[in-house]
Amino acid sequence: MLRTTLRNLLAHKARLSMTVLAVCLGVAFVSGTLVFADSTAAAHRAAASKNFAGVDVTVTEKAPEPGAGGGLGAGVLDDALVAQLARVPGVAAVRPSVDGSATLNAADGSPLRAGRAWSNLAGAYVPDRDGKDSRHPLVEGRAPTNSGEIAVDSGTASAGGFRLGDTVTLATDGPVVTPRLVGIVTADDPRVTAGGTLVLFDKATAQRLFAAPGRYSGIDLTATPGTTAYELADRLTALLPAGRAEATTGQAQAAQQAILVDTLTRGYEKVPMVFAGVSLFIGSFLIVNTFTMLVKRRTRETALLRAIGATRRQVSRSVLLEALMVGLAASVTGFLLGLGIAAVLPDILGADGDVLPSGPLVIGPRPVVAALGVGVGVTVLAAWLPSRLAARTSPMEALRTAEQPPSAQRLRLRGAVGLGLLVLGAGWLVSLRGAKDASEENLRDAMAGCGLLAAALIVLAPLLAGPVIRLTGQLTGRFGVTGRLARENALRDPRRTAATAATLLISTGLVTGLAVIGHSTGQALDRQAAAGLGADYVVSTRSTMTGIDPAVLRQLAETPGVRAAHPIADSTLFTGSGVRQITGVDPATVRDTMKLDFVSGSAENLAPGRIAISATVARESGVTTGGLLKVQMGRAGKFTSYKVMGVYKDNPVAHDALGSRSEVAANSFRPDSVQRVLLRTDGQATAALENRLRTAVGNSPLLKVQDREQFVREAAGTMGDLLDVMYGMLGIGVVISALGIVNTLAMSVAERTREIGALRALGMDRAGVRRMIRLEALTVAGFGTLLGLTGGLFGAWAVGSLAHGAVDQYTLALPWGTLLLVCLLSLVIGVLAAAAPARRAAALSPLEAAANT
């Protein structure tokens, strides 16, 4: 039997190559995603990891008691302590450091790799006894010596387009400074090399900026050979002023850091994994279809085998063996393709501004196992049904020629099951129309409903093929007899047509649903942001860890054209279940800058101890106006009960909660700082005014200046990810569908050789034959698209109420352009996929009609 299997594989390699390709694509996505995830995690780990090589123990200031306020204080890490530590037995080297962060503007004025404070590093150039800093070897120029000079690493210099002698605009926290670049160093800190920036100041300037004059932020020590890090740490701890500083081993720091980094880098696998799942799911239809057709085509052969004594088990095993080999071949090629995907994925995902850290590909055992498991598993599983079909072949089939139509009973069963699923799925979805919000439970229901709906459509597709294709046949019928023949051919085996169309059905359905929801949500978010913002301009920091300099605030207020500038403090709010954002406002002016729609209560009486919360927070916590909400604000180390003064509809300007500015600012990570300024202007937003505002903030790379339009676009920008997912799925679906259509048509041409020969003999020219095959492809593609479109639209409509619960302004908005594009793409793919089979059919000789086999 093994020999028969191998012969079969070779005999059908053209046909199987489509299946191999489909499985290969799925495997490529799975393994590519896993490799990408591993590599990105490694790169992220690097990007967020301080290099602890050569550091045995680090002495840092002990964090002040939470809630005590007052920041870092005077500090105890000074030169005297450094000298004292250097004398401790077992210490080989002492390197004091001053660490902080600084964000730069590139030479063209745009912020350079800004937005992630932990990779925009700043430090001090601290010369050793020999006058050099061994951690930062100079490549070019010299070390900075005063506050007007800096050095950067070579990566930063080339990314920013800086040359020695250039004036560089940068900000550490407060105002913008413009020092001169005097040196370029090499950096080995992975945080910098993986896509961050590094700025080195002279020691005094760095101490003034990041610690206190004469003080360091940390002291790294290396132990002499024979002294363990733990021994050294113990010795140092004995020496350090109790409660003011602590010694930690490098190992312990690295371990702690790893935990933090893991939480930061989770979630990067999600989107590509969705692609992988979709492609495998859709691909499995192609596999089932191919094997079913192969088995059917070989009925006579199989029957012959059975007639000469092969058992059912041997027959089905031979089909499964064939699938196993196909799966194996596909998995190997797919894995290699996956490596390519992993290599290019960072560029694709990083395209929208959020630069992913770079690093080498990491190929762990996980993707290899997954590729083989998924590829072989899916193929063998998909071939299982066809193998049973093959085993059922009766030896009598060898003597029979006519094809047996599927029994009416099976069709009725299919109809009943399909209708049941349809009623269940649609009913489930419709019952969600009454849902008020997008709670987890409702979302799960919606997913289940959509899944059932999809299953119902797939089960019903063979039954729907007749009526739908007869309807579309009205259009293809315009092509005369070729159109009519194409329609009839598509109807000849409704199950095969449906299985071929299923891939397009799923991808079109998914994309249609996503497109409609995405478009509607995007518009709703647009409206929400526009409706929530009363101000004309928003100036904001890139993170809540930094603040806006009071001088900048004053300058903004005094800028001609600005009527009022309202400072806002942002901080975080820990509600037992998660981290939320709280906005500190002045109750008197909040109406001027935000358009808040209060469900109950108001923002008028906000004061310390009193907050207002968004509808989402109110729903999640179950607290409404007049109630008490127990939360932890910003740096405040303990949970406090706040009186809820009002509940407002979700608002991207007000975030999740409103508090009084004095209280929020007091608990912010930069005590008493301002993170946003909302501006009212005298007239229209003009380019000139925007320029004046940018000048007023000193072109600081830390700050964003946005007019209403830009702000609204950013608030709705989260939809961008969804769009990427959508087009990705469409791409996969279309490619796999094309493979399926090629496959089915090639099979159908092969089966109809005699018939096509007869058509040629009766006077149909080659162009006519080609047109007939193309129209058949178009009919199948159109059928899948139509069904998918209907399902997708219905799903989007049904799920709409959930979105409406989440975003008040949600209404169903159809993205006509996208939908049209989806349909056109599907149909074009149908025609393109038909090219090769059509050519083959047209090349058939009319003599095929006279062949006596």
Partner: protein, 257 residues
Amino acid sequence: MTADLLSPHPTTGIAAATTDLSKVYGSGDTRVVALDRVSVAFREGEFTAIMGPSGCGKSTLMHCAAGLDSPTSGSVRVGTTELARLGDRQLTQLRRDRVGFVFQAFNLLPTLTALENITLPMDIAGRHPDRAWLDRIVSMVGLADRLGHRPVQLSGGQQQRVAVARALASRPAIVFGDEPTGNLDSRAGAEVLGFLRDSVRELGQTVVMVTHDPVAAGYADRVVFLSDGRLVEEMARPTPDRVLDLMKSLGSRSHGS
């Protein structure tokens, strides 16, 4: 040019003719001469049968004469149109407009009804069938009550009657039959042959049929015999017995030589 080549020419009394027609397959050791300089003419309004033992080249002769296959050398004319000068498109048009076919395997399109199958060549050409003519053909082959049926709902004999109607419906200059009774039992075969003969007698149709069955040949006006790719004998007004005798003598002659 095209119009000139394909338009009906003043009648010459010859519906189709071959001159020194040769067909060779393969080369070197595997060279097989299927037809060896065959010259034969099929007269208008005559029912000709081509006979001979298996592998004698009778089917190849028909395929070449009908424009289904292209000869290695020699000339084929349908009416006065020289087929060697026609491209694929023009050959296709010639088959569509001036030649009718009846195949052994019926070759009806399973997706079309009997009527649609009958009018298929005209549908392909984009022409409307002549209603009265169509009715006459349909009633002649006795299919009036079967027109809405699909091929699977028809018996073999009925299917072949549909095929005969299809061949006649577009009033071709010549109808070729390739073992048209090969897949039928003797009663259904006799019916189909009767229709072919009637079309010659009553409608003035020209019919050329390849067969190996002396009974089928007995329906023809004339039988030409092929052996080893050559035209060896011809018989007018054949009867099955005479045909059988001749074939026996041909067989012993070829064995004797």
